[in-house]
Subunit: 716 residues, 2 copies
Amino acid sequence: MNETISLPRTPKAIDLASLDALFRPRSVAVIGASANAGKIGGLPIHYLKRAGYDGDIYPINPRRTEIQGLKSWPSLAAVPAAVDLAVIAVPAAQVREALLVVAAKGTKSAIIFSAGFAELGADGVRLQDELAAIGRKAGIRLLGPNCSGYANFANGAWVTFAPLLEEGQDSVGNVGLVSQSGAFANFGYRVGRNRGIRFSQWLTTGNTIDVDIADGLAFLAADENTKVILVYMEGCADGARFIEALALARARRKPVVVVKVGTTEAGAAAVSSHTAALAGEDSVFDAVLRQYGAYRARSVEELFDIGYAAANGTLPNSAKIAITSISGGVGVLLADEAATRGLDIAPMPEPAQAALRELVPFAGTRNPVDVTAQVINDFDLFDRSLEVVLQQGDYDMLVCFMGYLGLSKEYGPRILPLWESVRRRHPERTLAVATLFDPAIRQALEEAGHLVFEEPTHAVRALAALRHFAESFGRADGAAVSRPPGLLSLPAEAGPLNELDSLAIVQAAGIPTIGAIAVGSAEEATQAFRRIDAEGGRRAVLKVVSRELPHKSEAGGVRLGICSEEEAGAAYSEVMARVAQRAPGIAVDGALVAPMAEPGIETIIGVHRDPVFGPVVMFGLGGVFAEVLRDVAFRVAPFDVAEARRMIAETKASAILAGARGGPAVDVGILAQALADLSRFASAHAERVESIDINPFSVGPTAACALDAVVVLRGE
Amino acid sequence: MNETISLPRTPKAIDLASLDALFRPRSVAVIGASANAGKIGGLPIHYLKRAGYDGDIYPINPRRTEIQGLKSWPSLAAVPAAVDLAVIAVPAAQVREALLVVAAKGTKSAIIFSAGFAELGADGVRLQDELAAIGRKAGIRLLGPNCSGYANFANGAWVTFAPLLEEGQDSVGNVGLVSQSGAFANFGYRVGRNRGIRFSQWLTTGNTIDVDIADGLAFLAADENTKVILVYMEGCADGARFIEALALARARRKPVVVVKVGTTEAGAAAVSSHTAALAGEDSVFDAVLRQYGAYRARSVEELFDIGYAAANGTLPNSAKIAITSISGGVGVLLADEAATRGLDIAPMPEPAQAALRELVPFAGTRNPVDVTAQVINDFDLFDRSLEVVLQQGDYDMLVCFMGYLGLSKEYGPRILPLWESVRRRHPERTLAVATLFDPAIRQALEEAGHLVFEEPTHAVRALAALRHFAESFGRADGAAVSRPPGLLSLPAEAGPLNELDSLAIVQAAGIPTIGAIAVGSAEEATQAFRRIDAEGGRRAVLKVVSRELPHKSEAGGVRLGICSEEEAGAAYSEVMARVAQRAPGIAVDGALVAPMAEPGIETIIGVHRDPVFGPVVMFGLGGVFAEVLRDVAFRVAPFDVAEARRMIAETKASAILAGARGGPAVDVGILAQALADLSRFASAHAERVESIDINPFSVGPTAACALDAVVVLRGE
């Protein structure tokens, strides 16, 4: 076995060290400082003081000597110390000049609050491109423009004018948020707090001329207080950096939950009309998140609900979930949800069911467990029932629906002692309680380590997400491939290669291909048939070879089922004559003769170059699956065989590979190996490969084979 | 044209008049009355008094003369007046005796609170069957046992012991809830109130030995205060009555939202283990709801969120929705949600876009409309922007995401005047506002006719549901078929019919079939070929005919591509000999000769008998679509051609009928007619038809044809 290597997709681009001065500054200057604590130039000073920021604050305003109780400086240059971070809170027209002053001072990071750039059209784009150039030249990390800044709840650096931070947060939490939109981040801060989330960091990136979502994500991945990362993004311009950040978060075992807008065609059209960022093909983006173990949320509520669970819940060691309920019907509703989300509603062992029946004679004991209303009148019985489930059923997760009990004057106060007792005996289980809550009981339950929900199905959804994270963190890095790619020398010219050359490249990439023989005359066709016949006595096919003829059959360029040398020679003459007649003037590179394929299931595997994420491998079954139903799976190259297996399993059609429809099961391992090999090749030659289509790639019970291929190259 | 008739599926079974005494009693007796207002026999008296019930209350308790300030009666018999409703709140063992007393009194309705029946196993089933028999004999409508009763908020008849009603409701609302589970109903009452719902009726059915979900649904459909109906159900034992109730609600244009548990196999297994009701095949249940315009919710939150929107929102005249947002990104998120849910995100007309740019220079103007943060500082501009969208864009629905503004001290108070102004100019539009709200502003906005949401995607989901209801109410009753079914005389015997007889029945049902000719000898086969040849010169097929041989091809019983009279005769002898050899001893009814089919798309249409809903028609495309992907649609018979078209459109494969994959578009009208005809036949012969499989039913550009069929009959 070769040594495991990680193929770098592009040079590493995230420079974490340089973000420190920006997000953990020891001193902050505010250019355009205001004495009015309600103004954009006054709020950050107000917040920094209020949050107990432990660094130096330098208000810069030439018309004042004192601002909000601090000495005001006439200019950044006048500050008699080094400054880590400059906040630029002046009108757009004055930002360029301010940034030049920052550069001259040697300050290594700046936030531009000011709006009036790319969001206002082409002139604004030019203006912000100029800012980016100044920043690059001076080595300044720039946040914004048109952003709401950030709040670091660990050191009190609330460098923002966001109105919703008014209420603050009295200690550092464990959830980091990074948002491209300030409006979303403002909304989300409050939604998150309402959901019981305490933030560690709250970052907005705005127009992202330098520091972007990938930087923010990587910073949060490395931040010691941040346990869970929430992301809101509208586009992704640099897929490699985004993937680097996702990989870093996964390596640190930090759950990442992402809302990305623009999934449908309507949505994507609107994104490109209002931001400059590339939205990327959504199914590819989706695949990237899956590949790197992130969770994609489809609503604001889901983002914060999953974030809440990940911040407060234990990641379960298995998918085994116990569902307990005081209402049998709701237990069933939750079982449906759990099944839909791939959790394992393993039935209780028979002795455990018997023990439960002993306690609650008419309980539903299988799983879901219906503890019935009987336990409401006897919380000790409730406790003992839960103990049977957890102890004898050995579930890693448990969700319990308690109806309205949390609000009941009579029963509400008994809930906390019940669950504290359960928790004491099972400190390591993931326990979720769904009921309507009195806020005080709710908080106490959370402090005792339980996840609490009002909507019972959301409890199940959240536990499924926790399992998703555990599973993702537990597996090997799928992008660390185990064999070096073997760089090939490819033709220099751009454009499609003919079938023979394409098959040769595919074969050199390690993918089994049909043994095609190039022939230039009827005589050579005869000889080729003889070789094929000698090797196994199969029938043969003869095809015209031309990079200019994608639809060979329509042009009469294919002859199937050749049984003899004579037929082979005649087929050559016939096919060449027919092509010359039906497609006059096209360049023909002779023909090929190949054995007819063994029967197998026809799949389509290929590569295309995503503008954001580079080479992306696709898999699908031939026929209606890929073409009509778009039942295909994507992965960003490179990836290993295990990742390829997950990719195959994602398609609905994969049931057919396992022998549905009465057919034989085929060798999925060979198929997975071919996908992994193709991904490694595409990754190694990312600059040259425009696309590869292997269609069909025929997979049988013990072998597989590329029957046709088109490789399209980019110029050197 | 024949006159439109409605085919009764079964005799009408819902007797609304008899429910009046139960749900709108003029007098209530409580058997097992308690002086303790916290006990099961005391709570209903407490509630009836507290809710200002306007009828007579008779506590029955032989050990007391006065209960909660009312005269107590020693027995029901002693009450010197007729009693509409008897509440039985005694232990299970005493219920039978109590019910006999109710019967003797001539009281026509009773509620049995008591638990301890079917939920406790076989003995309990026997016990409650006995109660049902007593009730039937005496003409008593029975609610329960093991139910929480009901609350009628119109007349103060709160005949329940549900603890959560403690807080009450000071006037009658417009949302009716009917729930099989008391625990769910208790939970749901509070979830609904929290969501801003005011209830008209709150009904629980428990073990449903008589009054069931269908009765409750029908009662709510007829109830004048109820505008929207929410249903929680665990099973459905009588599909015809449930459909009757759904149809009644639709006829009254009342939106119905349903949570039904037990969708997955795991869920369904748990349902049948804890209730006696039949869960029904879930895809059929799903089809029934779609067919009758009800909305299926997948969580408790969704049930009440859609219920809230239907209770307070206008049903939109079209699917056109405007999405406006102060955050471009969230606008895109909402556009995604709207597209997924089938709404029409029609772009703004170009002049409207220009007008909007005039107002807000850097707005995103297409749709979603990004009004940008500029409008936050100028609510008049906000108002004028919304006016451009609604007036010039002509949308029936508008959703507006306002971020955190609802909570802002500065901007929050301006929200209400803004929307009041919009509402004044557009009283008929469906307007939804999504933001974080101060509760007072929220309530004022609702009172001004707006729908309010915290989660913006839920606003879109709710508007899509309103459109779903509008569309459903606007169309003709799909079960009112336009041609009489033409009753056929069917063989008396049970079991499968052979292909010839099956095709004959299918043809008599009005469905085009291949012209198969029965042949009993080589000579007859020759003659049959001659007839076919004379009619069009097509090749022919010869097949053995046997009801005992489902797999004809495997037994060598089929010969395709017959070109001459001689071949036809030889084929007969050959096929008969082969079948005799390969399948010795089976009964053979000769053979058939038929023309080979014209090329077409192979579909599968069929009927099966659902245990709950009776004859159900299925449609799917042949091949992997139906067999592997289960991409099939169901409808309960009978239905009309328009409903059949909706059924076809539900399958993903329907794109192929319209000409995907480069094939010609086929005549979907003929296919829809065949499905409607099949449904009419199946409905008319519901007692005799076990199943019908027409596979394939080949559909071409101008014609369609059943090529093979198996009809299975039930005995007379």
